[in-house]
Symmetry: C2
Subunit: 392 residues, 2 copies
DNA sequence: CACAGCGCTGCAAAGGTTTGCAATGAAGTA
DNA sequence: TACTTCATTGCAAACCTTTGCAGCGCTGTG
């Protein structure tokens, strides 16, 4: 095993000496309840006492034990984030945004990766339920009915999936797919393929529906290929099939697949965009770095993460869970208002799409080229919209 | 704000009715302690009773409250993961591996993103300290002394940084840099630039040291440019500087910078690898997808994540924190064994490096081409090595 | 028969915090 | 002066679970 090199040393090390509210109370000569109030209801304690207590706390390095607090308040100040696949570059910006927003509201985030496995999703919701005040379910793969059922166990906000009766954050991929198809039709493509993603994906169905309608409206023929794994490999695997199908343009379920497809086509000697145009979805960073640069439908992932967190906290605040007085059936039948937010998507035109067989020769390019109506994660969408959305 | 569309509905919804150990006890006609034992020490309870209790628990949908358990056992079964930047594609595989390994050991993971901000790092360690059994500090930007200090508050494992007296998981970027330089020298490059990363990065110093030594040994001249932001932008920003410097090859701090640099050079009309060779570090997925495909030093990120989790748990198990009998200064001066693990890196030769000005004409390519000694995240390194390492 | 040992179970304390209620003292009002 | 009000603080229960100890009924041994 020449792979690793290990060195070991032993050292004296002070184990963590946990300092509790009691220590602070003793040090500042007050009762523990006063210390508690100093932190959680400062207006109830004499300013003089307060500063003394705070000084002692600072001095001893006291930090309230959130677990103990959670035990009695019923609120953990944690939220769970369940993700289909962290390694899919679509998700990190979402996680980052959610984590930031949560921290901003004094919440921490549990992250769990399900490897696109619906069973893991369910288990994780259960496992997290008691440790968090709510869960963000991102691009879930399980059934709607199961989601509804789980939502009775712990407050849920669903991202990238529409579940009636539950708060959802959606990206308007329908509109995105329509724009993409219109763009392709405008370029003179009449035979277009849609590379489908996972079967249980809401996004997938939505895109298919919208793409079909847009193609019909534009007088183009749409072939659906799939379902496929939403990865680069999934994309390159269908390259051969795409070539045989004879289409001149492809709309892929996401950027990863689009990039994989371009790779695959390249290996077959098919040039993009000269022979086949390719459009992706997501506008991951990567899509600006490949060659050709990818034309894609930009989804506001950061905004989605922030919005989802806000919706969860909003929902949570109006109905504090369990806690005191939980005799028999406490708060059955709470009337809860659920909002569903749809975030806009934007077509970003880059270099992977070009004129098709039916392009009008006069104007070689039917749509604006280059930077174009380019607005990836523009500043218009995020928090302002979020506020509006949740308020309604 | 035309960006979003919101719909709202109200619905009756059962709020989570928390079912506790007491409910199970009542339902199955035993004392709560028996229920507790059914879960945490099954061998102490009569098989008959056990099945009855389990049936009732299942029936009521009981799940032990980990927060309450943590309160008394002193172990939360959570670990914290502090990351410089989730959006940096280097980290997701590490997070994924760590999360998987943790879950495999019945632990959950708190993820926090610091945005490369040392202050945030410190705050987060404090905030997480009481909620987790230990923290993984990945590529920290704070000072060694602060890390040592924090390690007295909560068990720490450091990834990508060497701190004496603390368990560390390191990747041998020194060896990687050496291989890269040797590769370039072998190709006939004699004037090489090193694109530095963040100043406070251990990896950065290590690379610099090794690259300098290797260049000297190979009779090449090494120019250090930086520090730079470890991002694509950081890379493209120095393209002009690289061109002016007249070097024929560049070793970048990481793949992101390398890719950015290639972009930047391309914009200046400098072709890679014909005019300048570029080598990255990390072997992120992206590096296989750009054109030209990136020659890079592959780092075993998955293995690092798993190893770090194992080391943390190992360390934790041998010294259960605080809990019962925490009178005065309990366990001061615990003798702890700390291991430092160094994981091997591998040079992956792809298409971004080519012959330099001093290439020997006879053999146009001094090093093997194409797939070559390609072994990214190969199966040799991970868990087996991990076991060995921690055992020592 | 006395007693030890065993398998199983109940009892109650402990863990750190919050919070309703009561007690204290002082100031304000009639 | 007697009474009310208010600000401040202490008391103790409660949250849910784990765990050392003791008790129970039984069997086996001396």
């Amino acid at each position: 095993m020449g792979h690793t090199h290990v060195t070991a040393t032993t050292s004296d090390e002070g184990a963590a000496v946990p300092v509790t509210i009691r220590d602070v109370a003793r040090a500042s000569g007050v009762h523990i309840s006063t210390v508690s109030r100093t932190f959680s209801a400062p207006h109830l304690v004499n300013p003089e006492t307060r500063v003394r207590v705070l000084a002692c706390a600072e001095d001893l390095g006291y930090r309230p034990n959130r677990a103990a607090r959670a035990l009695i308040t019923g609120r953990t100040h944690n939220i769970g984030l369940i993700i289909a696949d962290i390694a899919n570059p679509f998700f990190p910006p979402l996680i980052k945004a959610a984590e930031g927003q949560a921290r901003h509201r004094d919440y921490h985030v549990f992250v769990a990766d399900t490897n696109e496995d619906p069973t893991a999703e369910e288990e994780l919701v259960h496992a997290l339920a008691k440790q968090v005040d709510g869960v963000l379910l991102c691009s879930p793969r399980m059934s709607n009915s199961l989601i509804e059922q789980l939502s009775r166990e712990v407050p849920l906000v669903v991202v990238n999936r529409q579940v009636t009766g539950l708060p959802c954050v959606l990206m308007d991929v329908g509109q995105g797919a329509r724009s993409a198809i219109e763009h392709l039709v405008g370029l003179g493509h009449r035979s277009i393929a849609l590379l489908g993603g996972p079967r249980s994906s809401w996004t997938n169905r939505e895109m298919r529906r919208a793409a079909n309608a847009a193609a019909r409206a534009g007088g183009a023929e749409l072939t659906v290929l799939g379902p496929n794994a939403p990865t680069e490999v999934g994309g390159s695997a269908v390259a051969e099939q795409v070539r045989r199908s004879g289409v001149s343009a492809v709309l892929a379920y996401n950027d990863l697949m689009a990039i994989g497809l371009i790779e695959g086509l390249d290996a077959l000697g098919v040039r993009v965009p000269q022979e086949v145009s390719v459009v992706g979805v997501d506008d991951i960073t990567l899509s600006r770095l490949t060659r050709p640069k990818l034309t894609t439908v930009a989804t506001p992932t950061g905004a989605a993460g922030r919005t989802a967190v806000d919706m969860l906290l909003q929902q949570d605040i109006e109905s504090p869970r369990g806690a005191r007085g939980s005799g028999a059936g406490t708060a059955l039948g709470v009337r809860r208002t659920t909002a569903q937010v749809m975030l806009q998507t934007d077509l970003v035109i880059r270099d992977s799409t070009g004129p098709g067989p039916y392009a009008r020769p006069a104007r070689p390019l039917a749509a604006p080229r280059g930077p174009g109506p380019h607005c990836p994660a523009g500043p218009g969408i995020p928090t302002a919209a979020t506020g509006d959305a949740v308020a309604s």
